[in-house]
C-alpha cells in the first residue's frame, strides 16, 4: 500500500472524528448560548457544565425503538437519513485546515496538505454536495407517507433550490477575485493586507487583512443569509417549523434515524460556517507566533484560527435563532427571488467592472 493512501485514510478518519466530537460540543454550546440569552441555565446535569448532555441524548436515541410508518416507502425511508449524513461529511473534506506541512517518514520527507482533498473545482464540489441535502429532506418528507412531513418536504424543495441560486451567484465574485476555484488557492489569495492606489487611503487600509469580506461585503451578507436558509436554521426553519408542521420532514422518524438527521443538520451548520470563513474571512490565515511558541503548537495555530472564525460565525447563527421570528413561506420566497438574487447579480456586475478596470485600466486611458 502506498504511503499516499495511508495518509488519505488517516485524514479521513481524523475528519470523521473531528466532526463527530465537534457536533457534540456544538449542540451543547448552542443550548448554553440560547439559555444564556433567554435567562435560563441550560443543560447542567451530565458531566461538567452539562457538556456530556449531547452524548447522553445520542445514546438514548441509539437505544430507542425505530418506528416505521405502515404507509412509508421502505427503501426511500431508510435512504433519506443516509443521504443527509454522507454529504455533510464529504463537504468538510475540501476545507483546508492549514498550510502544507512536512512529515519525516522512514527518512524521506513528505509534503502533506492539511486538507482532505484539494480539488481544483472545490467550489463546485461544495455547491453540488449541499444540493444533495435537498434530496434527503424531500425524500424523507415524501416517503414517510404522512401529511405533515409531505408539507415539510414540499417546502424544502422550493426553499433550498431558490437559495442555492443566490448562494452560487454570491460566490462568483469571490472566484473572480481569487482567480481559482480551489479552496486552498482561495485562502492563499487572501494573504497579506489591503492596499489602495491612493497613498492616503493606503496608509489607513494597510492594517486590515486582505480578506474577501472587505471588498466583497455584499456577497458575504448574501452568502451568509443563504447559508442559514440552506441549512434550515431559524428564521428560515420552515421545513421543520415546529409550531406549524409539528416537526416537518422528520416527524415520522425516531431513534437513530432521527439522530442522523439531527447530526447532519449540525454538521452542515459547522460546514457552512467553515466554508464562509474560508471564502470570506481568510480561512486558516492568522498569526502563527512561530517565534514564541513551540513548533508543534505553532503548526496547529492555522487550524485554531479557522476554528475561532467558524465558531464566531456559529455564535451569530445561534444569536439570530434566539432573536428573530420565523418568516412565512411566501415572504421567504420573495426574499430569495426578488431581493437576494437581483442584488447578487448587480453585485456580480459591479465587481466584474471593478476587476476589469484593475486588470486592464480604464477603457478610455
Amino acid at each position: 500500500m502506498s504511503i499516499d493512501i495511508i495518509i488519505s485514510l488517516v485524514k479521513a478518519f481524523l475528519i470523521l472524528g473531528l466532526l463527530l466530537t465537534n457536533t457534540i460540543l456544538l449542540i451543547w454550546l448552542e443550548r448554553k448560548v440560547v439559555a444564556g440569552m433567554q435567562s435560563r441555565v441550560g443543560p447542567d446535569r451530565a458531566g461538567p457544565f452539562g457538556i456530556l448532555q449531547t452524548l447522553a441524548d445520542a445514546i438514548k436515541l441509539l437505544l430507542k425503538e425505530q418506528i416505521m410508518p405502515l404507509k412509508a416507502d421502505r427503501a426511500m425511508y431508510i435512504l433519506a437519513p443516509i443521504l443527509a449524513l454522507v454529504p455533510s461529511f464529504l463537504i468538510f473534506m475540501i476545507i483546508p485546515l492549514g498550510p502544507d506541512i512536512d512529515i519525516e517518514i522512514k527518512g524521506q520527507s513528505i509534503r502533506v496538505p492539511l486538507v482532505g482533498a484539494d480539488l481544483n473545482v472545490g467550489v463546485l464540489f461544495f455547491l453540488a454536495l449541499s444540493s444533495i441535502a435537498v434530496y434527503s429532506v424531500v425524500l424523507a418528507g415524501w416517503s414517510s407517507g404522512s401529511k405533515y412531513p409531505l408539507l415539510g418536504g414540499v417546502r424544502a424543495s422550493a426553499q433550498m433550490i431558490s437559495y442555492e441560486a443566490a448562494m452560487g451567484l454570491s460566490l462568483v465574485p469571490v472566484i473572480l477575485y481569487s482567480g481559482s476555484m480551489s479552496m486552498t488557492e482561495i485562502v492563499k489569495s487572501q494573504d497579506g493586507h489591503l492596499s489602495s492606489p491612493i497613498p492616503f487611503l493606503d496608509a489607513i487600509v494597510s492594517f486590515i487583512p486582505n480578506w474577501n469580506i472587505f471588498p466583497q461585503f455584499v456577497a458575504f451578507v448574501i452568502f451568509f443569509v443563504a447559508s442559514i436558509a440552506e441549512v434550515n436554521r431559524a428564521p428560515f426553519d420552515l421545513v421543520e417549523a415546529e409550531q406549524e408542521l409539528v416537526g416537518g420532514f422528520h416527524t415520522e422518524y425516531s431513534g437513530f434515524r432521527f439522530a442522523m438527521f439531527f447530526l447532519a443538520e449540525y454538521i452542515n451548520m459547522f460546514n457552512m460556517c467553515a466554508v464562509t470563513a474560508t471564502f470570506f474571512l481568510g480561512g486558516w490565515l492568522g498569526p502563527t507566533f512561530s517565534n514564541f511558541l513551540p513548533p508543534l503548537i505553532s503548526a496547529l495555530m492555522p487550524a485554531f484560527w479557522l476554528g475561532v472564525k467558524t465558531f464566531g460565525l456559529l455564535f451569530i447563527y445561534v444569536w439570530i435563532r434566539a432573536t428573530l421570528p420565523r418568516l412565512r413561506y411566501d415572504q421567504l420566497m420573495e426574499l430569495g427571488w426578488k431581493r437576494m438574487i437581483p442584488i447578487s447579480l448587480i453585485w456580480l456586475l459591479l465587481s466584474s467592472i471593478v476587476l476589469g478596470i484593475r486588470e486592464f485600466g480604464l477603457p478610455w486611458s
Binding site: Q243, P325, R326, R328
Partner: protein, 451 residues
C-alpha cells in the same frame, strides 16, 4: 309576586324540558348499565374510539388530489391545549376549518350544581386557568347579587388589585405563546419569566400560584400580606421595563410586522356576528370594555383608558394586549394609594364563617361555623347574571337558585368558547403559518372552552 311565579315556571321548565331534569336514573351500576343500553350503539363505538367516523365532506367539486385534510390537534404544538382543527388544505393554503372541541370536557358546570355556594369558587377557578381570579370574581359577584349583599370597600379594592394583576399575567402568557407560535422563541421565555413575579405575589397572598380560591362570596379569603406594597411596587417597576424590551425586540422588527400585519382580519361586523368580545373586539375599532360599560366592584372609581386599535388584524390584537397591560398597571398603582382600611369580608353571620378564636367563646359562633361548613349558606330563590371583563372578553355567570345552599343551575359564558367560533373565519384562505398566528392571537384557553 308576579316575578316569583315566573321563576317557578322557569324552574318547572328547567325540571321538565331539559335533559338534566329528565335524568332520573341514579348513578348506580344498574342505572348506568341501563343508560348504556339506551345509548345508540354507533355512538358508543365512536366515543370509545373503536369506530372512526370521517364525517368530513369536501366543500366544492374537488377531489382528493387537489385538497388534503389535515388534523391539527388535539395534540399539536400550536393549538394551545387540546383543540382539534380539521383543516382543509390546498397546497399550503387553508381553505376550510372545522374546530372540534370537547377534548378537555370536565363537566364543571354540572359539578357546580353539586357544590355549595361557598365551594363554588374552588370549582370555577379551574375553568379559565390563566385568569382564575376572574372566574372566582364573577361567581362571587353573581352569588352576592342573589344574596343582595354589598361587600366592604376594602374587599372591593383587593378584588380589583388582584384581578388587574391577573389580567397582566394572563396577557403576558398570551404574548409569550403568541411569540412562540410565530417562531420568536425568546419571547416565550420572557413572557413566562415576568409572569412569575405576579404569580409569586399571588402565592404570597392566597397560598397558591394558580386556582387560588381567593375571591369568595362575601369578600376575599384573606387580607393582603404584610408589606404587600413592596412586592406590588416591584412588579410595577419591572414589568414596564420588560415591556419596553419586548418592543425593542419585536415592534419594529420587519419580520414580525410582515408576519402579523394584514393577517387574520376580524372586522367589527364579524365580531358582532360571532359574539366576540375582549381584546379582539377592541382591536377591530369598537370600544367595548365592561369595566367602563358595566362597572363592577367599584372599578368606575379608577382612572384608566380603554386602548383602541382599528386595524383588526393579528398585529393590533397583539399590540392591544401590550397596551392593556400598561392600563392594568395604572389601576394597580391607584389601588395602592386609595385602598381603604377595614374588613376584607362582609361581617354577616349568615355568609361569613366566624373567626377561629370566637368558636371557643361563643356557642352562636360555633353553630354558624358548623352550619356554613356543612350545609352552606342558603341563597334566596332567583336568577342572576353578572359579567366581568376577563382578559379574553366578557366572562359571565348565570345562576338559578331554588332557595337551597347549592345553585340549581350554573352557567358560565366563557369568552374563549365564543371567540373560538371566529377560527373558521380568520383562518380561511390564509397559509398555515398565518392560521397558526391567528389562533394565537385569539388566545383561547381550552379549559374555558370545554367547561
Amino acid at each position: 309576586m308576579n316575578e316569583e311565579k315566573d321563576l317557578k315556571d322557569d324552574l318547572d321548565f328547567w325540571a321538565t324540558n331539559s335533559e338534566e331534569g329528565g335524568w332520573n336514573i341514579s348513578s348506580t351500576d344498574e342505572g348506568s348499565q341501563k343508560m348504556l343500553e339506551e345509548e345508540d350503539e354507533k355512538q358508543i363505538k365512536i366515543q370509545t374510539g373503536s369506530d372512526v367516523v370521517d364525517d368530513y365532506v369536501y366543500s366544492e367539486e374537488t377531489t382528493d388530489d387537489e385538497r388534503m385534510i389535515v388534523n391539527m390537534g388535539p395534540q399539536h404544538p400550536s393549538t394551545h391545549g387540546v383543540l382539534r382543527l380539521q383543516v382543509e388544505l390546498e397546497g399550503e393554503v387553508v381553505r376550510r376549518v372545522k374546530p372540534v372541541i370537547g377534548y378537555l370536557h370536565t363537566g364543571m358546570e354540572k359539578t357546580g350544581e353539586e357544590l355549595a355556594y361557598f365551594q363554588g369558587p374552588t370549582n370555577t377557578t379551574r375553568m379559565d386557568y390563566l385568569s382564575p381570579l376572574f372566574n372566582e370574581l364573577v361567581f362571587s359577584l353573581t352569588t352576592e347579587k342573589l344574596l343582595d349583599i354589598e361587600v366592604p370597600e376594602r374587599a372591593k379594592a383587593i378584588r380589583i388589585l388582584m384581578t388587574e394583576l391577573n389580567r397582566v399575567s394572563s396577557h403576558l402568557v398570551a404574548l409569550a405563546t403568541g411569540g412562540m407560535d410565530i417562531g420568536a422563541l425568546s419571547m416565550m421565555i420572557f413572557g413566562f419569566r415576568e409572569r412569575e413575579l405576579i404569580l409569586n405575589f399571588f402565592e404570597k397572598t392566597s397560598g397558591l400560584r394558580m386556582n387560588h380560591n381567593y375571591i369568595r362570596p362575601g369578600g376575599v379569603a384573606a387580607d393582603l400580606p404584610d408589606n404587600w406594597q413592596k412586592d406590588v411596587k416591584e412588579i410595577l417597576k419591572i414589568i414596564p421595563e420588560k415591556l419596553k424590551d419586548y418592543d425593542e425586540m419585536l415592534l419594529d422588527n420587519p419580520i414580525w410586522q410582515g408576519r402579523l400585519k394584514n393577517v387574520g382580519i376580524l372586522t367589527t361586523e364579524e365580531c358582532f356576528a360571532y359574539g366576540i368580545t375582549g381584546p379582539s373586539l377592541r382591536a377591530s375599532g369598537f370600544s367595548w370594555d365592561l369595566r367602563k360599560r358595566q362597572p363592577y366592584s367599584g372599578i368606575e372609581n379608577y382612572d384608566f383608558e380603554v386602548p383602541l386599535l382599528t386595524d383588526s388584524d393579528v398585529f393590533s390584537r397583539w399590540r392591544i394586549k401590550v397596551l392593556e397591560i400598561y392600563e392594568s398597571l395604572k389601576i394597580v398603582e391607584q389601588t395602592m394609594d386609595t385602598i381603604p382600611k377595614g374588613a376584607y369580608r362582609i361581617q354577616d353571620k349568615k355568609v361569613t364563617p366566624p373567626p377561629r378564636q370566637r368558636l371557643d367563646e361563643s356557642m352562636e359562633a360555633l353553630i354558624h361555623h358548623f352550619k356554613i361548613y356543612t350545609e352552606g349558606f342558603k341563597v334566596p330563590p332567583g336568577k342572576a347574571y353578572v359579567a366581568v371583563e376577563s382578559p379574553r372578553g366578557e366572562l359571565g355567570c348565570y345562576i338559578v337558585s331554588d332557595g337551597s345552599s347549592k345553585p340549581y343551575r350554573m352557567h358560565i359564558r366563557g369568552p374563549s368558547f365564543c371567540n373560538l367560533q371566529a377560527l373558521p373565519v380568520i383562518m380561511a384562505d390564509s397559509p398555515i403559518a398565518d392560521a397558526v398566528a391567528a389562533i394565537a392571537s385569539l388566545d383561547p384557553v381550552i379549559g374555558d372552552v370545554d367547561r
